[in-house]
């Protein structure tokens, strides 16, 4: 065996050692990077809760330093799929009580408990001429949520109410819909990117001053209020998973979510209030 082959063997063993180190740093399980002594708590949340959940996460960890809250957000359908495949998460927070009921009936979660409400608004760019929701069916390009997504279903309920008052409204509106997104935030992004002129989203999705993130200068949005008589209330609910590895911690977190501190955070992000007038 020449020195050539010997060098190669050295390189191979070095690579193998790096591999082992790499594996060690990655580890397995949600608690992988959790410092010893802290309990990991895996919360699955709908996309519309993303910003609020980030603040809730740090608020909870401040008062409960022994718990490491980990938040994974995705579309409700994705989350439901993961849970019904036996994913070992602790808590599921969804914008759709129907999803949670279905999961409860099939035995994946405990009974769902409401913790916040949300309302819909029409999000437009700052320079849009739209001021009145009753004119939205004339906006050229509209973005809404897909029918299977919570915000999509709420949107259609609002459309039904509008149509009862203004015949033909729904047909005109749907004719201008250019995209039905699987995720409410993506519908909003379409307006930001200029691909759509208006989107029906949650009140909490439209950034407000002091809500936690600075608006990007090129894409300032504002919300056009939907008349109270058309409005639907989106009920957010939370449930503990049957397979939760941290059942006790999960129950404690759910209880906290429905208590004063968390509710104040949620209100600050726009939940739990009806939008009476345009901001």
């Amino acid at each position: 065996m020449g020195s050539d082959a010997h060098n190669r063997l050295c390189r191979v063993s070095l690579a193998l050692r790096c591999c082992l180190v790499g594996i060690a740093t990655l580890g397995c399980g949600p608690g992988a990077d959790t410092p010893p002594g802290r309990t990991p708590l895996l919360v699955l949340g709908a996309s519309s809760l993303a910003t609020a959940l980030r603040e809730l996460e740090s608020a909870y960890e401040e008062s409960h330093p022994l718990v490491d809250v980990q938040v994974s957000t995705a579309g409700s359908q994705t989350l439901r799929l993961q849970i019904s495949r036996g994913l070992r998460a602790d808590v599921f927070a969804s914008a759709d009580p129907a999803h949670l009921d279905a999961l409860h009936r099939s035995g994946w979660t405990d009974v769902a408990q409401p913790f916040a409400k949300n309302t819909l608004v029409i999000a437009v760019r700052d320079d849009s001429p739209l001021r009145d929701a009753t004119q939205v069916d004339r906006v050229p390009r509209l973005a809404i949520g897909a029918a299977g997504v919570p915000v999509g279903r709420y949107t259609r309920a609002v459309l039904d109410r509008a149509n009862a008052e203004i015949p033909g409204f729904r047909t005109r509106f749907m004719a201008n819909v250019v995209t039905q997104e699987p995720n409410v935030r993506l519908a909003l992004a379409k307006v930001r990117l200029g691909q759509a002129d208006a989107a029906v989203v949650y009140l909490t999705d439209v950034p407000r001053a002091g809500a936690g993130h600075p608006p990007s200068p090129r894409a300032t949005l504002r919300a056009v209020a939907i008349p109270a008589r058309w409005q639907v209330e989106a009920q957010y609910a939370v449930a503990r998973l049957r397979l939760a590895p941290q059942a006790v911690a999960a129950a404690a977190w759910i209880q906290w979510l429905r208590s004063g501190t968390a509710q104040r955070v949620l209100r600050r992000h726009g939940f739990h209030v009806q939008l009476a007038e345009a901001p």
């Binding site: 790096c18 790499g22 957000t73 995720n183 990117l193």
Partner: protein
């Protein structure tokens, strides 16, 4: 003197495709202002996502090359039962939608799955799950390249090596691998790029946990929901890596020529 006629026809046909390929990258680069880019570059999420993507893809690549090279060799040599089956398996992840692969991984490693008992279903939603998803979707790109390259190795070359005193294994190391090396490197680069861009299976199987499983593509998707300029910056970075990888593969023959000590 008559000048040569220009091949207008083929260029006319080719141009739409060229435009379609170039447009996204160019538009991406032009859409962000430099100040937006700079502020986005300092975002903590970016560093987290890049670091996670770097670690996971490096590990995936190591496994793909380490386990895939011997497998490709065995498949290329052939002569055993089930070669055709393995070749089909290798091609499968390319044709399956990533979401399907994600669901399949959830099933495989969940409690009810075949490996549920072994790993105690703690694999999902972990950084290791990211690596597994990347390995599954990216290994075909390396394997198919390696199998083709190994098939191209002349049997006579190996026989000569052995006649000169090399054992069968030594002949593979000293002759087959070096002669297949350019194709192996090219395949590995493509596999790495595919692993880097992996989204659907990762989202389903590893979840969207910032700092733990939120790789660069997932971070782009998440950023799109909140801060478009951050999404653009991340997208530009990812595109930069991809362009770099493709350029590297393309320039590889030229690089080998100027490599000191080795003659082509």
């Amino acid at each position: 003197m008559r000048t040569r006629p220009r091949p207008i026809g083929s260029w006319l046909l080719a141009s739409p495709l060229l435009v379609a390929l170039a447009l996204p990258i160019v538009a991406l680069a032009l859409a962000s202002g430099p100040d937006e880019l700079l502020s986005a570059l300092g975002h903590p999420r970016l560093a987290e996502a890049v670091a996670l993507s770097a670690r996971t893809t490096a590990l995936s690549l190591l496994v793909i090359v380490g386990c895939g090279t011997p497998l490709a060799w065995r498949v290329a040599r052939g002569g055993w039962r089930g070669v055709a089956l393995v070749e089909t398996l290798v091609a499968l992840p390319v044709v399956l939608p990533p979401a399907v692969i994600g669901i399949a991984l959830l099933d495989a490693f969940g409690r009810q799955g075949p490996l549920g008992g072994v790993l105690g279903d703690s694999l999902a939603f972990s950084p290791a799950a990211v690596v597994v998803a990347q390995i599954v979707v990216a290994s075909p790109f390396y394997l198919q390249s390696a199998i083709a390259a190994f098939r191209d190795v002349d049997d006579d070359l190996l026989l000569v090596a052995r006649s000169l005193g090399a054992t069968a294994r030594s002949a593979v190391w000293r002759v087959a691998l070096p002669s297949a090396l350019p194709a192996l490197i090219g395949g590995a680069t493509l596999a790495w790029a595919r692993a880097l861009g992996e989204f659907g299976a990762t989202l389903l199987f590893a979840g969207n946990l910032p700092g733990r499983t939120q790789t660069l593509p997932l971070a782009i998707y998440a950023a799109l929901e909140e801060d478009v300029s951050l999404a653009r910056a991340l997208a530009l970075i990812l595109a930069g890596f991809a362009v770099g990888a493709v350029l590297f593969v393309r320039l590889l023959p030229d690089l080998r020529r100027i490599w000191p000590g080795r003659a082509s």
